[in-house]
Amino acid sequence: MPPAFALTLTAEEIEDAQMASYSMTFAGDQVGLIVRGKKSHSHEPGVMEQHADCILSNGAPVGFFGEGNGGRSNKSGMGMKGEVYDFAELSKKRAPYVDLHKAKTLGVVSTGLFVSVSNKQAKLFDDYWAALDKSPGAFNLLGGNCSTHASDAFIHAKILGGGIPGLDTPDHLYFQICKERKGKCTVLSGYFGFTALGAGYLIGIETV
């Protein structure tokens, strides 16, 4: 019997999903953190080599980035404009974060932390990102970065009780969630891909 998604996806999208070691959808009772550049649970990437994205309760990827004020030419990493990238924006500016083929070609490995939550927590998590998208404010490498806002989403949803211990980095947030939500998390490392499916997304992961 063909998989349930066969009728709604293109041949290439089905190939992506089949190539993945794992494919999943979220049903409103999970959210996620993806640490880009983290190759396994125990790998601790350098501060500049990591980035945090989140997965909303419908499986949609979302993340906070710095733009403007010189962009990559900004020598201090301060005073930049914050921007929330959704799937469409990630597809243009970070294709290897959402396209499994591109991730493989360009060697972009991520570790995803999938957290079981209540429907109410999931909604609060989604609400945080929707509000941030409307008013993203500034981006600062120290204390106003991708992991700061990912952390705020988990706190707003009452999934975490407080801020990131130590420096705001994606990896510190990752280990904080693992510790505080022990028994409620699943971890997968590899190449990640997202495909729009119905009202949500099919997440494909080919492990490394």
Binding site: M48, H51, F65, S91, A95, V108
Partner: protein, 129 residues
């Protein structure tokens, strides 16, 4: 005084069609500087690219006002398809998307055995994925 090169930043096509294509002579392919303390390389900066590379060249054809100008394209190293210094390459451009302008969505080296008579058809059929 030498005219400053025109810069194009990289984005993936994401289903968008280019507004125009350029044929260029590639003079140099160089790794982009990662800046003081590697700050330019932060993964959370919007325009960061994997193995950011600059392709420097001069426009041969494609947009009249750009012909003869020096151009620099930023792109991920892994997205440069058969691009070689000293040879020709085709570049697909999106002029504007929201606040971003001069967006390069693919760079492909011109096949060495391609005859000049076949060039325009090859350029026209070039797909960016």
């Amino acid at each position: 005084m030498a005219e400053e090169a025109i810069r194009f930043n990289w984005q993936w096509p994401a289903g968008r069609k280019p507004d125009y294509k350029l044929l260029i002579d590639v003079s140099k392919i160089r790794k982009e500087s990662s800046g003081l303390f590697g700050l330019k390389k932060s993964e959370s900066i919007g325009d960061q690219l994997p193995e950011a590379t600059e392709v420097v060249g001069r426009v041969i054809s494609g947009r009249e006002q750009l012909v003869g100008k020096e151009v620099i394209f930023r792109a991920p190293r892994g997205e440069l398809k058969e691009v070689v210094a000293g040879q020709r390459a085709a570049v697909a451009i999106i002029e504007r998307d929201n606040r971003d302008t001069n967006i390069c969505v693919c760079i492909v080296g011109v096949p060495k055995n391609l005859r000049d008579a076949e060039l325009q058809a090859w350029l026209r059929d070039l797909k960016c994925e």
